[in-house]
């Protein structure tokens, strides 16, 4: 097979020699022809350039799950990716994360397969049923429910990108999905037993969506976890910490259990238009529970007010009628409660005739944009970073004071991974004079979750080393930055906690972009 060489691509391969325990990098130039996959390229290297390179492979058709690797920070199957489709002249190839490396690109995947030992991947039925010599009936529509979830090849890519999997109590996206696939299999009678296995660890998932995003078979593990949780919520067998969050929201419409009547305390003296005193404005500013109630976060809420004012935007807030958007509640599996919250907010949006909503939190943003019933009414919703980036680009907002610091940006999952908003926050930061923006290795789509999603911001009980936020702050510390900028109240909260438990508050601070912009105006 000799089609012409389309281009030469440089492969920078991050290697590990188990004999000397040495980590090193080898660089190879590979002639790429049409149709060549990453696996073909690795084979080319081993055959022609370096016979010592170790990697796994088998089926070369994306079904055996052997060849997961990290390519430019993104996990993928080498055999199922065409080199030319990556549109790159240089590729950085690394072993999958979250696993110990055995040699070069070969990782010890045992911890991943070990999680399968903790569930039963076989139908649970009474003995006498299993002795029958005819098949159990399953209608095509019922098969359809499990089919997509049964496509998991156990390649371990989801596990490699999972922030919760750094804690070995967690079963991991793949195993939880397989567990769920059996629970909803109409032939299975073991739901109770299966839910018990997950009930104490499933709450570690932060709904960051990496598993779903990177799955070569497009298995939606992230949603399966949520569905599985909702079944556990139905049984009532949930940890105290989760119960507290749900109860608070049920009673007070905010997860922190604060009185709704105190929701506007942060805005005292700011003279903000507030429903029902005002029932129309160009922009409805949706504040978010955490920012409204938490003293530290109120600074962010206030910063945003200054920015609105500076831009001359006519805005208002819902005041005590702003209820939790429900995102965390939905991800914790309490669908009924989420609907209640959403219906209230939707009715308020309608009464207010909200033409445009600006949210501080990416979680509110995602809920309004993508979750029913919010999404049914076609809301015009913006995350504040979109608004600011646009204003800066149009010259309506010009940061004047400098920040002479090295700053990194942490992508909030609900802004980035779930909604593709990667560049706006960076544009804002880059517009600040003196600010040197440096990227963490795991950025944009490959960003590592802070660990705050799906209610975990309130339920965190992992040992310090196993908290995603600690892992993330360490990454930022390694970069030598003084500021971690982000654009989500929950990221601010978890990352700031991590700086405290690591006792590095004097070295590194966490700031919301709204705060940084306010500082420089």
């Amino acid at each position: 097979m000799s089609t012409k060489v389309e281009k030469i691509v440089e492969f920078e391969i991050h290697r590990f020699d188990p004999e000397t325990k040495r980590r090193y990098v080898s660089t190879y130039k590979v002639p790429i022809r049409k149709g060549m996959t990453l696996l073909d390229a690795l084979m080319y290297i081993r055959d022609n350039l370096d016979g010592t390179l170790a990697f796994r492979s088998s089926c070369r058709m994306g079904i055996c799950g052997s060849c997961g690797i990290q390519v430019n920070g993104k996990p993928m199957l080498a055999c199922y990716t065409q080199v030319l489709h990556l549109n790159a002249d240089k590729l950085v190839i690394e072993p999958l994360q979250n696993f110990p490396v055995i040699k070069d690109l070969v990782v010890d995947i045992e911890p991943f397969f070990g999680t399968y030992e903790r569930i039963k991947s076989v139908l649970i039925k009474p003995e006498e049923e299993l002795k029958k010599s005819v098949e159990f009936i399953q209608l095509p529509k019922d098969l359809k429910k499990i089919w997509d979830l049964a496509l998991c090849t156990k390649c371990g890519i989801c596990y490699s990108s999972c922030p919760a999997a750094i804690d070995e109590r967690f079963l991991g996206p793949s195993t939880l999905t397989t567990n769920y696939r059996f629970i909803i299999d109409t032939r299975d009678e073991g739901a109770e037993e299966r839910l018990k296995v997950t009930a104490d660890n499933i709450w570690l998932c932060t709904s960051c969506n990496s598993c779903t995003l990177f799955c070569p078979k497009e298995v939606d593990a992230s949603s399966s976890v949520v569905e599985e949780r909702s079944l556990i919520v139905e049984t009532g067998n949930i940890p105290r910490t989760v119960m507290d969050v749900l109860t608070s929201v049920m009673r007070y419409h905010n997860p922190m259990g604060r009185y709704p009547t105190k929701r506007m305390e942060w805005a005292e003296g700011l003279n903000i238009k507030t429903y029902p005193n005002v029932n129309k404005a160009d922009v409805l500013y949706f504040v978010c529970c955490l920012t409204a109630y938490d003293t530290r976060h109120q600074e962010i809420a206030k910063s945003m007010v200054s920015l609105f004012n500076r831009l001359g935007i006519d805005f208002a807030v819902l005041g005590n009628e702003e209820w939790c958007c429900g995102d965390h509640i939905l991800r914790l599996g309490e669908k009924g409660l989420f609907e209640e919250l959403a219906e209230h907010n939707v009715s308020m949006f309608k009464k207010f005739e909200a033409n445009k909503i600006v949210t501080l939190s990416p979680h509110c943003y995602d809920a309004f944009k993508n979750q029913k019933p919010y999404s049914d009414i076609g809301l015009n919703v913006q995350h504040y970073t979109q608004l600011l980036a646009d204003a800066i680009e149009k010259g309506k907002l010009a940061p004047s004071k400098p920040i002479n610091k090295k700053v990194t940006y942490h992508d909030p999952c609900f802004l980035g991974k779930r909604n593709g908003i990667f560049e706006e926050p960076r544009k804002i930061l880059e517009s600040i004079k003196g600010l040197e923006l440096v990227e963490m290795k795991r950025n944009r789509e490959n960003s590592f979750c802070c660990g705050g999603g799906a209610g975990r911001v309130w339920t965190e009980d992992a040992p310090v080393e196993k908290r995603p936020c600690v892992n993330r702050v360490k990454e930022a510390l390694d970069l030598g930055v003084e500021v971690i900028a982000t654009a989500c109240p929950f990221c601010v909260s978890t990352l700031e906690d991590a700086t405290k438990v690591l006792d590095v508050e004097n070295k590194i601070v966490v700031k919301d972009i709204a705060e940084l912009v306010k500082e420089v105006l």
């Binding site: 020699d17 796994r56 058709m61 079904i63 991947s121 095509p140 156990k154």
Partner: protein, 566 residues
């Protein structure tokens, strides 16, 4: 050198190996089973099986009909007693998998659905869309993991069998993670290591399908049977060779030449695209040889046209091959025909075993593609191989369990283990030769592709034999670049190349001797089937000078050989 002891050691963790493990473990809780595999079980090539698994389940079908289709498909080289046993046991295996959770595709009323397949005169292919092997594997793996008397040795590479007084007593294996050679003591050993089509250039097979178990058993004294019979699958995706399921034709797909003609009308007017694989592969190769194929950047190809099936049906029944065609060939079957040509796909031959899966070495069993029992004779029907793996995987597990319960352990011969250590670490790893794997491997594959393909001649087979032997000579001077221990893939590639070279030679020698055309073995110089002289199985025995051939008769129970027409 550590020693590991298990009543039964199963080598290979594909469908046959996992099924054997389950059967052995369920036979008695007292039995301690080990499954050794050079890759994690769910990475086995069985996950690539797509189209279905044959079994008689419905009214209108019958055991006799399935058996007859199989025997006729086999061009009468199958052992009919084995075939009769096989068709009767297959349905239970489908039900077993169903009860363990396999997501079989369903009929409207919720029963297991079945689709038509080549050479079968009834739609009896049970399927899970076009990922049948994948789902069977994950189901078996899930089931096997629930049995406490099975221990998995994942990523252990078996190098040799330990045989004393014609009795298998253990084996040697390298633990890839550490690179150390270890000895296993066992009462019974089941080989379930799959096929060896990686001896060819253009193949549907995984990189890891290198016939390890066949060579290991052969060198230990077990004969290899019917190795001249290599199945060429009519639809290997161009360029990579990856399988495009026969189910695509089962669902109604057409094969077209460059003139847009459904050329099968000239070769099998009745069955058309659903004739057995040997016939279609020859038809395609003829179209190619006679200049009626399409010409593309990767050589000539035939078009597999599914467009008339419509997007909905393709998504429901053939989702994997749609994805594979898009990802690996840049072709969406909903929009345009898939470029294909015949690809080396399956070994009808393998370790000689009887109806109980026993090899001539006591305590050594074999099941699945690495064995030859013989259900498939000279040409296997599609969907009969996963069924074979399930049925005879189970039989091998049961038989090995019976055997193990009645025997006691024997000491493993230390000298042989040390000899094996020396052969690998001093003889191969330590040697400073100047030959490299890629050169010899690629040369072997080219020879097999050019001279031991669909149409064969004595002259070309002679040349191939000479060239393969030259390569074996060169192999003695092989060099492993990587001198390390852990995950030394260079060393593994050398060991695999060694295994495949051996099998390439046996294949050529067996093909050269068989001066007739039968099933997948077609000799241009002997184009007719010759029942008078060749209605017999080839047995190849290992000698230092190369394979020594013997022949044994075919078992005929009900069906006298007749002319094979479709």
């Amino acid at each position: 050198m550590e020693k590991f002891t298990h009543d039964i050691v199963i080598v290979g963790a594909g469908i046959a190996g996992l099924r054997a493990a389950i059967a052995a473990a369920e036979a008695s809780k007292e039995i301690n089973v080990a499954v050794i595999s050079k890759i994690y079980p769910v990475r086995s090539h069985s996950v690539c099986a797509q189209g279905g698994t044959a079994a008689v389940l419905r009214e209108g079908d019958s055991y006799d009909l399935h058996a007859w289709d199989t025997v006729k498909g086999a061009d009468f080289l199958a052992d009919q007693d084995v075939v009769e046993f096989f068709v009767r046991r297959a349905p239970q295996e489908i039900i077993n998998l169903e009860h363990w959770g396999c997501p079989w595709s369903r009929t409207e009323d919720g029963k297991i659905n079945q689709r038509p397949f080549g050479g079968h005169s009834f739609p009896r292919a049970c399927f899970a869309a076009d990922m049948t092997g994948f789902h069977e594997m994950h189901t078996l793996y899930g089931k096997a993991k629930t049995l406490e008397n099975i221990t998995f040795y994942d990523e252990w590479f078996v190098t040799s069998l330990l045989v004393e007084d014609n009795t298998a007593v253990g084996l040697t294996a390298i633990e890839l993670k550490t690179g150390k050679l270890q000895a296993f003591k066992a009462k019974a050993i089941v080989m379930a290591t799959g096929g060896y089509q990686r001896i060819y250039q253009f193949t549907t097979f995984s990189h890891t399908a290198t016939g390890d178990g066949m060579t290991i058993a052969y060198r230990a004294g077990a004969p290899l049977k019917d190795m001249e019979f290599v199945q060429f699958h009519p639809t290997g995706l161009v360029p990579p060779g990856v399988l495009i399921t026969e189910g695509a034709r089962g669902e109604g797909g057409y094969l077209l030449n460059a003139k847009g003609e459904r050329f099968m009308k000239r070769y099998a007017p009745e069955k058309m695209e659903l004739a057995p694989r040997d016939i279609i592969a020859r038809a395609e190769q003829t179209e190619i040889n006679e200049g009626r194929a399409f010409q593309g950047p990767y050589g000539p190809y035939i078009a597999l046209d599914l467009r008339h099936l419509g997007e909905e049906k393709i998504n429901e029944r053939l989702p994997l091959i749609r994805d594979v065609a898009i990802k690996l060939a840049g072709v969406d079957p909903v929009e345009e025909p898939i470029p294909i040509r015949p690809a080396a796909h399956y070994a009808m031959g393998g370790i000689h075993v009887n109806i109980k899966t026993e090899s001539p070495i006591a305590g050594l069993y074999a099941a699945g593609e690495c064995s030859c029992i013989s259900v498939h004779g000279a040409n296997r029907l599609g969907t009969n191989s996963t069924a074979d793996c399930l049925v005879f995987g189970a039989v091998s597990g049961e038989e090995a369990a019976k055997y193990a319960l009645s025997k006691s352990f024997r000491e493993i011969p230390k000298d042989k283990v040390l000899e094996e250590e020396k052969r690998i670490f001093d003889g191969i790893l330590g040697k400073e030769g100047d030959e490299k794997v890629p050169a010899i491997r690629d040369e072997m594959r080219k020879i097999m592709n050019d001279k031991v393909w669909i149409f064969r001649t004595g002259e070309e087979l002679q040349e191939a034999l000479k060239e393969i032997r030259k390569l074996r000579k060169r192999f003695e001077n092989i060099r492993v670049e990587d001198k390390g221990g852990a995950f030394n893939m260079g060393l593994i590639e050398v060991l695999q190349l060694d295994f495949t070279l051996e099998l390439a030679e046996v294949t050529v020698v067996s093909a050269l001797a068989r001066t007739e055309s039968r099933g997948a073995h077609y000799r241009l110089d002997y184009p007719k089937r010759d029942d008078k002289n060749w209605l017999k199985h080839t047995l190849a025995y290992y000698t230092r000078e190369g394979p020594r051939l013997e022949y044994i008769p075919v078992t005929i129970t009900k069906w006298t050989p007749t002319e094979r027409k479709y």
